[in-house]
């Protein structure tokens, strides 16, 4: 058995168990108090997202309204990141593949990486980087620090560019490793802190979505 098939089966099983678990609780017995047991921080009141405007890796404008209509997982990173960013995008890829296989009736959430390094991460760079992980993933960048900060500040995402000199092009960017969840109304709904485990993320997302749909 191939390793990826084995992984899919295990994750599939976990999802089935969690969905069955949710169904067993039906009849109003699953409620918001269950959300407190999750490792995710689920906001008591989803927060409205103030206007921002970024460009996606295909060159299209992406703003707060583009987030409406579907769940979105949003991660902040940069392409010259050797460890955390490619690992998080690989985690998101496992999530995307498993949600697709195991919940065909549901619309697959958006998976988004917002670059916190707009100087190096141009649309062209993101256009080569993002599809490497998954063709349906979305990369976002800004044309100025202000554009990037319009989303990072309200999402509570700190980052720090450690340039040694203005000419330095091999600098590191320190950034939050959190993944944020935006609901289909376009409001900030939950926060997942690193390190990320795809099975746990899928499990918790399944419950968060179920409870949100009941409300």
């Amino acid at each position: 058995m191939s390793k990826s098939l084995f992984t899919s089966l295990i994750l599939g099983l976990i999802i089935v168990v969690s969905v069955v678990g949710v169904m067993l609780y039906q009849g109003g017995r699953v409620d918001r108090s269950d959300l407190e047991k999750l490792s995710a921080t689920v906001f008591r009141m989803p927060r409205a997202i103030n206007p921002f405007e970024l460009t996606d890796h295909r060159g299209k404008i992406f703003n707060q309204n583009t987030l409406k209509g579907n769940w979105s997982f949003i991660f902040f990173g940069y392409t010259n990141c050797p460890d955390v960013c490619p690992n998080t995008l690989a985690v998101m890829n496992v999530m995307a593949n498993n949600l697709e296989k195991n919940q065909p009736d549901k619309i697959i959430p958006h998976f988004i990486m917002v670059s916190v390094d707009h100087e190096r991460d141009t649309v062209e760079v993101l256009n080569k980087y993002i599809p490497y992980f998954n063709n349906s993933f979305i990369g976002l960048t800004g044309s100025s620090t202000e554009q990037v900060d319009a989303i990072t500040k309200q999402f509570g995402i700190p980052y720090f560019i450690s340039k040694k000199s203005p000419a330095d092009t091999s600098y590191e960017v320190q950034h939050s490793g959190a993944i944020l969840l935006v609901n289909p109304e376009g409001n900030l709904h939950a926060l997942f802190s690193a390190p990320h485990d795809p099975a746990r993320l899928i499990n918790e997302f399944t419950l968060i979505r179920y409870i949100h749909e009941q409300e």
Binding site: K3, S4, F6, T7, T79, N80, C81, P82, D83, V84, P86, N87, L89, A90, V91, M92, N93, V94, V125, K128, Y129, Y132, F133, P158, Y159, F160, S170, E172, Q174, H175, S176, G177, A178, A194, P195, P198
Partner: protein
């Protein structure tokens, strides 16, 4: 008969006598394939120390990369950052695990792009003066950390 017993004893002595065992062994050695446009990538492995003393891994080189550094991914005040380390401690009778989002080798400027399936030679120098070499396999990472430890 005496000669025969003498021979057996000699053979036994040869088998049980201390032979030069490798004190550091390297397992699960792999390199994350760099996505297009990324100029940096990371290598991971488990270093096992069979000796009674700690050993420091002080240097890593590879003909495939211009420079290799030891980095640790740490989270501090909500920021994830990398901290360069002068060496990696491999504890006595223990392991040093270099794994995603922990300690790793940061690989700079590949001589040629390395692709999934490639095998890359690494050379290591330890604080006790020993050196060793190991072959690292390039992989497109899956995102599941225990995956790398599963046996085929």
């Amino acid at each position: 008969m005496f000669n025969f017993r003498y021979l057996i004893t000699l053979l036994l002595l040869t088998i049980v006598s201390p032979v030069a065992l490798a004190d550091i062994t390297i397992e699960d050695a792999w390199i994350r394939e760099a996505p297009p446009v990324s100029r940096v990538q990371a290598a991971y492995a488990t270093f096992k120390n069979s000796q009674a003393d700690d050993v420091e891994l002080i240097k890593a080189t590879s003909p495939a990369f211009a420079k290799i550094e030891f980095h640790k991914t740490i989270s501090e005040n909500g920021l994830t950052k990398m901290q360069a380390q002068a060496s990696v401690t491999i504890p006595a009778k223990g392991n040093a695990e270099l794994k995603p989002e922990g300690m790793h080798m940061m690989l700079f400027n590949p001589v040629n792009p390395v692709r999934a399936g490639n095998k890359i030679e690494f050379h290591f120098t330890f604080s006790n003066g020993n050196t060793t070499s190991s072959s690292f396999i390039v992989k497109k990472a899956t995102g599941i950390n225990h995956h790398q430890h599963m046996h085929h």
